[in-house]
Structures are given as structure tokens and as C-alpha cells.
């Protein structure tokens, strides 16, 4: 069978779902961050797929993916430095300990 758009989209959907599961479920904050990275990647896949299948000859989707990657990097950097800061305070990276915002 020939590769079609919907195959790629399905793949990205699955990856996205896995990422969601991870973000909702992991106890380790770094695990959550990694799941978020997965979601980003799924979205990027989507964009490239659309670009490739629906707009051949154009590169707009890819340019957007560049942005996405950049932003993901920025976000990861800030998040990691936050995690480090939190770790310094409570000596743990587990979410159960991080409920100071609770009501």
C-alpha cells in the first residue's frame, strides 16, 4: 500500500496520545517534561506531513516546524532550570511533594 497522509497522521496521533498519557501519569517531573517533548514532536510530524502531502513544493510547514523546535528548546531550558531549583529546595523530583499550591 502506498503511504498516505492519514498514515502519518495516525502515527502522530498515537505518539501524541502516548505523550498525553505520560504527562498525566508520570510521577517524576522530568518524566512529564519528556512526555511534553513527545507531544511537541507529534505536532511537528503533523505539520511536516501536511506540508509534504497537501502542499508539495512549498516549505511553509517546515518553517513552522523550525519555530516549534526552537520554542520547545526554550521551554525545555526554562523547565529544567526550574526543576533544578525545585530540587535544590525540596530535594525531590516527585510530584506528590510539589503541592504547595493546594487549597
Amino acid at each position: 500500500m502506498i503511504l498516505s497522509l492519514h498514515h502519518v497522521l495516525m502515527l502522530s496521533a498515537i505518539v501524541f496520545g502516548i505523550g498525553v498519557y505520560g504527562a498525566l501519569t508520570r510521577r517524576n517531573v522530568l518524566g512529564i517534561l519528556m512526555s511534553i517533548e513527545l507531544m511537541f514532536n507529534a505536532a511537528s510530524l503533523n505539520l511536516v506531513a501536511f506540508n509534504h502531502f497537501l502542499h508539495p513544493g512549498e516549505v511553509r510547514g517546515q518553517a513552522i516546524v523550525i519555530f516549534v523546535i526552537t520554542l520547545a528548546a526554550a521551554e525545555a531550558v526554562v523547565g529544567l532550570s526550574l526543576v533544578l531549583s525545585i530540587y535544590r529546595n525540596i530535594k525531590s523530583v516527585y510530584t506528590e511533594k510539589m503541592n504547595l499550591l493546594h487549597g
Binding site: A23, T25, T95, M98, L100, G103
Partner: protein, 647 residues
């Protein structure tokens, strides 16, 4: 002067008020003011009398002082000067002045001295207002004020229970009569429409009042007389009224208040003339009372009680006189009785003041110790028994003559029997007090004559008692002052008067025989007629009868009603309301605690619970928030899909 006639009543009234409030600072604690006021009234009255006698003042003379209006009806104060009112006003003011002079000596160490004089003046003012009244309203006002004063004065020494009880008895018994009187007044107003005597007289002349109505009115008015003038059956208060000080007995129960009842009949004579049946009732009530009271006086042991029953008896005579058509006779006797009865009471007071007892059996042979009292008392006694030449003789003879002349032969006979008894009991009293051997040595030793302030009035009254008759008995004088309305009497044979005189003498003789010498005969008679004696001594047990039939049941009824009031009405309404109110407040408090506070607490509790539930959303777990976001996202997308549809 006649324009100032109203001062006759007003001066004593003003004196009464001034003495009551300012007596402390007035000379003789106000007595002087009272006496002065009375003397002034007497002066004015006497002057008016003189004016009438020498012709400058024509009678009847009426002065109106309008008072108030109700709708179409006018009510007024007024002065009506005619024969009866003028004579009576002179007598009342004069006697009242003498009694007040007497009281200065008699009451000199009494507590509430000034109040005594205030009441005396008030009383005099009320009587004068009544006598001078030209309408029933003023008459009634004076009547009632006198009743109140009588209550005050009888119960003057209220530290003694007997005095207070006597005052109550007097007031209540006369009140009973006043009920009828009041009903009569209402009927008069309803039927005739005015209270004014002259206008009523005109109405009666014009024949506007039916005989039936006139009878009813007359009988109702007579009820007042029965009460006030102590006729049977409302006579019971007068003997008890002797608990009051002697001047009070003299003024009220001899001269004035008791005479007001007779005066009422005289003033209302127009009604009586048109109601012959009522007149009959009057005559028989009077006659019966006359003899009835005389029988009780025979066995009385207290000098004042003797005089009291004598008063009742003589009032009976007056009323009998009026009842048989002897208008002038009745009023004449009223005037003479005022003089000699006041004299007798004051003399008795003098004796009591001296020997400090009322009991006849403790007195005796006081003639030597108290000569002035002796002679004055004698004058009074002679007048009372109708000894020839005294004023009492003339007036009593006139009454008995009128009785015979109007064909009331039985009443005439009763009158003569009464005259016999009158002489008998007065001789008895006189002998026991003044003659014979002294029964108690120590009292006899201490007895002395009374001071001049007491003796002088006695003397003045003695002169009046003896001489008044000569002034007034002439038919022209009587006609002028007590004009006879209605039919003239039939001719009276002379033996009528002689029989009357004779019965009096007979009484004197029998009394003297029994009581002048040793008293053994008296004792034997008493034991021989023991049941009769006992009956008379206990006043025919009438007081006991009234007590059992009227007073006790009323007391029981009052107790019953009080019980009812306490236990039923108070329970239901007062306690019940209280309990209902407290029950209601308990309910309210329960509502407040459980429902209202429940709402408040409930809202708090629900807020807390909701908060507790909602708090779980804010648990600080970011992943939880993320989950919620995801849920919402999914829900939204689903909703969009279903509702927006395929694109």
C-alpha cells in the same frame, strides 16, 4: 339682697374648701371660718325672711343661673324662694351655726378637728343648696353630697370598727332608696322633659301627666324619702349612725339630712296630689314607722339610741302628715322638730361629755350636777312630747288633726298611741338620767356642767323649742309660709286635739310612775312580758333579718364571684395568656434555634462541604489540573462534533 340669695349656699361651701386645705393656719383651726360662714348664711336668710314679712319681697321668687345644655335641654342652677325653702333655710343655717359653736367645745381634743369642721360646712352647704334648689338636678346633687358627708361624719372616728361599719351601713341603705329616687328622676325627665319645679308644676296643672305616670313617679321619689328619712323598712341605718360624734347626730339626724326626705315629698307634692294611691302609701308608711320606732325606743338603754328611734318616729309623723294631705302640718312639724331634736341631741352630748357614758342605767340624779343641761333637756322633752304650749304641741296636734280630718281615723288612732309611747319613753329617759338616785357613785361625783360654748347653743335652742310654736301656729302665718295646695281639710272637732294631748299626758304619768321611784316595778314588768321585752330590745330582729337575707348572701355572692374571678377568669385569661405567650415564645425560640439557625448553620455547613469537595480540585497536583483540562478538551471536541456536524 335677694340677688345674693345664692350666697346662702355658696358661703359654707367656700368655707368647707378653705378649711379643708388651709385650716391649719386659720383661727381655731378653721372652726371660726365655718361658724362665720354659717352665721352669714343665717344673716342673709333672716334678712330675706324679714323682707317677706314686711312685704318687700314677694314669694315665690325664682332666680336662674344657666349651667349647661345638652341638645335641646337646658340645665341650670337656681334659687327658688318660697315659704318652705325660706323657713327651712333660716332653720338649717341657724341650727348649723349653733351646732358648730357647740362642736368647738365638744370636739376640742379630737384628731382631724379641722376636717370635722370642713365636713360640717360642706354638709350645710349641700343642705342649703338642696333647700334652695329650683330643679331636681340641683336637689339631687345636694342630696348626694349630703349622703357622702353623712358617711364621712358618721365614720369620723374610724379607728373604731363600729363607726366605720355604721358609716357604710348608712351610706348603703340610703343608696338603696336613692336608686328609686334616681329612677324617678329619669322618669320625670322622660315624661315631662324638664327638671325645673315651676315648669313641672305647670305641666301637672295642664294635665299633661297621666295619673298612672304620676303614681309611678311619686312612688319612685318616695323611695328616696324612705331611705333618707329612715322610714320602715330602710330605717336600720339611723340607730347605728349614733356611732358618730353627737354634734353630727344633732345636725344630720335631727335637723337636716333626715328632713330632706320630707322636703322632697313636699316639693314633689304636685305628683302626689295627682296620685292619691301614692299618697295613701306615704301616709301608711309614715304612720307605721311612727309607732314602730316608738315601741323600740321604749326598751333602748343608750340615750342616743332613744333619741334616734324618736327621730325615726317623728319623721314618720311628718310623713304621715304629708300623706294625709296635711302639707302645712308636716312642714310645720319638720321645722319644730329641727329645733327641739337638735336641742335634745346636744344636751345628750353634754351629758355624755360629762359622765363619759351613753348608758341610761349608769346615769342618775344629774339634775343637781348639771342644771343648765337639765333645764334645756327638759324643754326639749316637753316639746317632743307635745306638752301644751310648746312648739311640738302645735305641730303634732296639727298633724293628728289632719289625719282625722281627712278620714284616716285609724292613722289618727295610731298617731295618738304613738304620742303615748313618745311621752312614756322620754319620761323614762329623763328620769333615768336626771332624777332618782345616782346609780354609779364615781360618775356622779365627777359629773360637771359643760363649758359655755356648749351651754349657750342649748339655751338658744331651748327658747326656740318652746317659743317657735307661738310664732308660727297661726293659720295665716302657716298659710303664708306653707300654702296648702289641693283640698282644704274638713272641719276638725276639738276633742281630736284633746285626745292627742291626753295620750301625751297619759304617757307622762305612766312613765313617771314606773321610773321616778324605785325601779322594782320596771323589773317585774320586764320579766312578766319577757318575750315582748326581748323582741323590742332586739329591735324586732330586723337587723338580723336583713343580715341573713341580704347582706350575707351578697357577701357569699361576692365571694363566689371573687373565686370565679381568681380561679376561672384569671386562670383562663391572665394565666392562660401568660402561658400561651410563653408557649408561643418557646415555639419561636425553637424555630429560631432549629429552623432559622438551622438555615444559617446549614448554609455554613453546605458551604463548608461544597468547599471541601471543591477543595479537592485544588490539590496542588499539576497533573490533576492537566487531567481536567484534557477532560474538558475531549468533552468540547465531542460536543463540537455532535452538534456542529461534519464539516
Amino acid at each position: 339682697m335677694v340677688d345674693y340669695a345664692y350666697l346662702i349656699a355658696l358661703l359654707p361651701f367656700a368655707a368647707a374648701i378653705l378649711i379643708f386645705f388651709f385650716g391649719r393656719w386659720l383661727p381655731v383651726k378653721g372652726a371660726a371660718l365655718g361658724i362665720l360662714a354659717c352665721l352669714a348664711s343665717f344673716g342673709i336668710s333672716f334678712d330675706l325672711l324679714m323682707q317677706v314679712l314686711d312685704g318687700t319681697l314677694k314669694l315665690p321668687h325664682e332666680i336662674h343661673y344657666p349651667w349647661f345644655e345638652v341638645g335641646l335641654f337646658q340645665f341650670e342652677w337656681g334659687v327658688l324662694l318660697d315659704g318652705p325653702s325660706l323657713v327651712l333655710v333660716v332653720a338649717v343655717s341657724g341650727i348649723s351655726a349653733l351646732i358648730q359653736i357647740y362642736s368647738v367645745g365638744y370636739m376640742h381634743d379630737a384628731p382631724r378637728f379641722k376636717r370635722f369642721f370642713s365636713y360640717l360646712s360642706l354638709f350645710t352647704a349641700a343642705m342649703l343648696a338642696l333647700v334652695l334648689a329650683n330643679n331636681y338636678l340641683q336637689f339631687f346633687i345636694g342630696w348626694e353630697i349630703m349622703g357622702a358627708c353623712s358617711y364621712f361624719l358618721i365614720g369620723f372616728e374610724f379607728e373604731r370598727d363600729a363607726a366605720g361599719a355604721a358609716g357604710n351601713k348608712a351610706f348603703l341603705t340610703t343608696r338603696l332608696g336613692d336608686l328609686g329616687f334616681y329612677a324617678g328622676l329619669l322618669t320625670i325627665f322622660f315624661v315631662i322633659g324638664t327638671f325645673n319645679f315651676t315648669q313641672i308644676q305647670n305641666h301637672l296643672h295642664d294635665g299633661n301627666v297621666s295619673t298612672h305616670m304620676a303614681t309611678i313617679i311619686a312612688l319612685l321619689l318616695f323611695c328616696g324619702t324612705v331611705g333618707k328619712s329612715a322610714q320602715f323598712p330602710l330605717h336600720v341605718w339611723l340607730p347605728d349612725a349614733m356611732e358618730g360624734p353627737t354634734p353630727v347626730s344633732a345636725l344630720i339626724h335631727a335637723a337636716t339630712m333626715v328632713a330632706a326626705g320630707v322636703y322632697l315629698v313636699a316639693r314633689s307634692y304636685g305628683f302626689f296630689l295627682q296620685a292619691p294611691q301614692a299618697l295613701e302609701v306615704v301616709a301608711w308608711v309614715g304612720g307605721f314607722t311612727a309607732i314602730f320606732a316608738a315601741t323600740i325606743a321604749v326598751t333602748a338603754d343608750d340615750v342616743k339610741k332613744v333619741l334616734a328611734y324618736s327621730t325615726i318616729s317623728q319623721l314618720g309623723y311628718m310623713i304621715m302628715g304629708l300623706g294625709v294631705g296635711g302639707y302645712s302640718a308636716g312642714l310645720f312639724h319638720l321645722t319644730t322638730h329641727a329645733a327641739f331634736k337638735a336641742l335634745l341631741f346636744l344636751a345628750a352630748g353634754s351629758i355624755i361629755h360629762s359622765v363619759h357614758t351613753n348608758d341610761l342605767w349608769k346615769m342618775g340624779s344629774l339634775s343637781k350636777q348639771m342644771p343648765a343641761t337639765f333645764w334645756t333637756f327638759l324643754s326639749g322633752t316637753l316639746a317632743l312630747v307635745g306638752f301644751w304650749g310648746t312648739s311640738g304641741y302645735f305641730s303634732k296636734e296639727m298633724i293628728l288633726g289632719a289625719a282625722y280630718g281627712s278620714h284616716h281615723v285609724l292613722l289618727y288612732g295610731i298617731g295618738c298611741a304613738g304620742a303615748f309611747l313618745t311621752s312614756f319613753y322620754m319620761t323614762r329617759a329623763f328620769s333615768l338620767i336626771f332624777l332618782g338616785d345616782p346609780r354609779e357613785r364615781d360618775r356622779f361625783a365627777h359629773a360637771h356642767e359643760s363649758p359655755w360654748s356648749m351651754i349657750v347653743p342649748l339655751m338658744i335652742l331651748a327658747v326656740a323649742a318652746l317659743g317657735l310654736g307661738w310664732f308660727m301656729h297661726a293659720p295665716e302665718t302657716l298659710e303664708r309660709f306653707f300654702p296648702m295646695p289641693g283640698r282644704p281639710d274638713a272641719a276638725v272637732p276639738p276633742w281630736v286635739g284633746l285626745v292627742a294631748l291626753g295620750s301625751g299626758f297619759l304617757g307622762l304619768a305612766v312613765g313617771g310612775a314606773l321610773y321616778l321611784g324605785s325601779l322594782t316595778l320596771v323589773g317585774q314588768l320586764a320579766s312578766a312580758f319577757a318575750p315582748l321585752h326581748k323582741l323590742l330590745k332586739n329591735k324586732y330582729y330586723i337587723d338580723e333579718l336583713y343580715w341573713a337575707v341580704f347582706v350575707r348572701p351578697t357577701g357569699k355572692l361576692a365571694e363566689l364571684l371573687a373565686w370565679f374571678d381568681f380561679n376561672v377568669i384569671d386562670r383562663i385569661f391572665v394565666d392562660g395568656f401568660g402561658q400561651a405567650a410563653s408557649l408561643w415564645s418557646e415555639i419561636q425560640s425553637w424555630i429560631d434555634d432549629h429552623l432559622v439557625d438551622g438555615v444559617v448553620n446549614g448554609s455554613g455547613w453546605s458551604a463548608e462541604s461544597l468547599g471541601a469537595i471543591a477543595r479537592r480540585m485544588q490539590n496542588g497536583f499539576v497533573q490533576n489540573y492537566l487531567l481536567v483540562i484534557t477532560m474538558t478538551l475531549v468533552a468540547l471536541l465531542t460536543a463540537m462534533e455532535t452538534f456542529v456536524g461534519k464539516h
